[in-house]
């Protein structure tokens, strides 16, 4: 009776360890680095707000990227959806005198529409998503520029629309709500089961009656909704929407989510990948706060982030070897082979 219980406990402990090791270890290391330099990640009253906002934007972007990328669909239009949905909702809200909630709801509605259009273009044209999403990115960047007549959208003096991004509780609610909806939609619903079936084998799934077209469009629409929230949070927190993103100026947003996506995927093996994206976002935001505290130049930040990404990918590709080395298995095996050889010779 004791053996299964022990095994279950061991499994749970392993799950908790695997889930928390990266954010906890990174947080600790960076805290030590900051302390050694006489600074702190959380040095002022605004730090917590910035941290939570950073976690929210990274997590949402990562989930938005992963939804389609896990199915092999590269989506370069994420940043442009965020900008265009924010531009449209801001224009309506500022002209009609709405508040923060109005703008957030409008952003989500337009985000869903823009995402669905992006997905619609992909399923209609039947071209590789890497091509259609680049086209959509150009189109949306141009539309954002045209709607504003090339002028950045300024929220200066419009405190009504920035209430959410200055309130930690509201942003925590957004994080929790998005996480819950994503888990229910992708892990606990018929849509989610079909999504996973399509991921595992599209041809077989389609033959069993699963409609891959509608599934893909819903994925794009959901991704659009998430990016619209990112657009809203970014715009209202800094007080400006820069439309100076013509000619693929918006696609960097997608690349910023790669590292947290891989980290989230790794954590997901021990628990749930969506929870993994949240913890990965926390990890990445620890880095951002440290860069700020240590006044690290943006060029240096890019190099560090790139190195981290490459190192993590190398680890994922050679995980078994790395683990074996860490457990000294190679040396033991070599030693064992040598000993066996000597025994046989005898």
């Amino acid at each position: 009776m004791n053996t299964p219980t022990l095994s279950k406990t061991k499994k749970t402990a392993r799950g908790i360890f695997g889930t928390l090791i990266i954010p906890v270890a990174v947080g600790l290391i960076l805290w030590i680095v900051c302390a050694a330099n006489g600074v702190s990640m959380f040095s002022n009253a605004q730090s917590l707000t910035i941290f939570v906002r950073g976690v929210a934007t990274v997590m949402l972007t990562t989930i938005a990227l992963a939804i389609n990328l896990n199915s092999g669909r590269f989506d370069f239009s994420l940043g442009s959806v965020a900008t265009l949905s924010a531009v449209i909702s801001a224009q309506i809200t500022l002209n009609a005198g709405g508040n923060a909630l109005t703008m957030l709801i409008l952003s989500i509605v337009f985000g869903i529409l823009l995402g669905a259009v992006s997905g619609g273009i992909y399923v209609l044209l039947r071209l590789p998503p890497i091509i259609t999403s680049l086209g959509v990115a150009l189109l949306y960047e141009g539309l954002a520029f045209t709607i504003t007549k090339g002028s950045n959208v300024s929220f200066y003096g419009k405190t009504d629309v920035s209430g959410i991004t200055t309130n930690v509780l509201y942003m925590l609610i957004i994080i929790a709500a998005v996480l819950l909806i994503t888990i229910v939609l992708f892990d606990r619903s018929r849509f989610g089961y079909r999504y996973k079936a399509l991921m595992a084998g599209q041809k077989v799934s389609v033959n069993t009656g699963i409609k891959e077209v509608s599934n893909a469009v819903v994925c794009y629409a959901f991704s659009g909704a998430l990016m619209s929230i990112v657009g809203y949070l970014t715009a209202t927190s800094v007080g400006i929407i820069s439309v100076d993103i013509l000619n693929f100026g918006s696609i960097g947003v997608m690349f910023s989510a790669f590292l947290p996506m891989f980290i989230g995927g790794f954590i997901g093996r021990y628990s749930n990948d969506k929870l993994g994206y949240l913890l990965a976002a926390i990890t990445m935001t620890f880095f951002s706060m440290t860069y700020s505290a240590l006044s690290v130049k943006s060029s240096t930040q890019s190099i560090i982030n790139a190195v981290l990404l490459v190192v993590f990918l190398i680890y994922l590709s050679n995980e078994k070897t790395v683990k074996d080395i860490a457990a000294l298995k190679h040396i033991r095996n070599l030693f064992k082979k040598k000993t066996d050889g000597e025994t046989n010779n005898d």
Binding site: S43, N44, A45, Q46, S47, T49, I50, R53, G54, T57, V58, G79, F145, T148, G150, S151, N152, S154, F155, Y156, G157, T159, S162, T234, S237, V238, G239, I240, S242, V243, D244, L246, N247, V253, M284, T285, S288, M289, Y291, S292, A293, S295, V296, K297, S298, Q301
Partner: protein, 392 residues
Amino acid sequence: MKTLKKIVSVAVALALIATAVLALASCGEAKKVKIGVIVADATGSEALSFRNYYKEYIEQNYAVEFLYSDALTDAEAEKAAIENFITSGCKAIISLASADRPAQIEQCEKAGVYYAVASGVLNDDEYAKYKDYKYYVGAIGPSLDVEYQTGYEMAKAQIAQGKTKFAIYGAGVGYRIDMHVQRTAGMLAALCEDESTTYGGVSIPGAIIGSLYTDGEVSLSKFQSSKYELVGYHALWNFGDATWQANLASVVAAEPEVILCAGTGLSVFGQAVSGTNVKICDIDSFTSDYATAMQNGTVTYLAGKYASSIGPIFAAVLDAVNGHAVKTEAGEALALGQSYWVATSYAQFEKFQSADSVANPIFNKTLLDTVVGDSISYGTFKTFVETDRTPA
């Protein structure tokens, strides 16, 4: 069958006439001189006010058409944009982008296209090299000395008010944008006039400028003073970047009395300082956001350019394209300075804002026509540019 033939004949004839009419009409349009404008900023308030002046006022009053580039952030992009304009038949290029001005000048000289710098000038070495180029019209705008002086006077004005706790926003210092480097150096030099204050161990303006070009930033650890505090530094425009946002917030959280900004300070800090006692001093243009900010006391000092200040360089370009380029007495390209208008109160700001609009610019057609022609002397042009037009 005959009727059908008649209908077809009439239709073909009508089509030919229509084509001829359209061709003639387009011939008329072809007389418009195409001028390419390359810009580093396409969406900022100053950039848009310049663009509106050219597109909505100058195009309506002169037979010219302005073609605008996207925002160009590097030399390669500038080169490609100029190539595009040359292919499109532009007779001249007006540059508001400064990643690689020597390359721009060389490219236009080779192509036989006139080239001019708006709202800025070449440095001394560059001017010495290019002043005799046939197609280099010249540069009209705040000189680098004026940029330095503008930053210096901004900081001096705050010191005169008894302010001692500062932060600096260097805008494009990270990209080594000349005007932002000069303005920031001017601010630091003003603080370094105090005996106890040094930057990097020195207080000489030249050394401060050199240090900023080398580091690409203001280093807080280099600032030493027993009188002033420099509690924060921020730069660039990475609005979507969490680290950039965190640094912006930490600058405000350090509670400087005033943030000295080398440009676009309100766009960057406006939201962050609302509800605090932190004030902004800035160098930008006279837009509605600044009106609100000056009225509510967020911005207490604004050195600004006015939209039609780029009128004189247009006049110089038009003269050159028409074959009557204005040159100095020595036959060299123009290098004329302009200065900023400085508003320290809302009343002053309002006066400046209403003095120059697209509908009624300071450099209007009547004024510009005094220097557009075939016998404009250098003296006349110089006086035209350098006359103080600050509203009384």
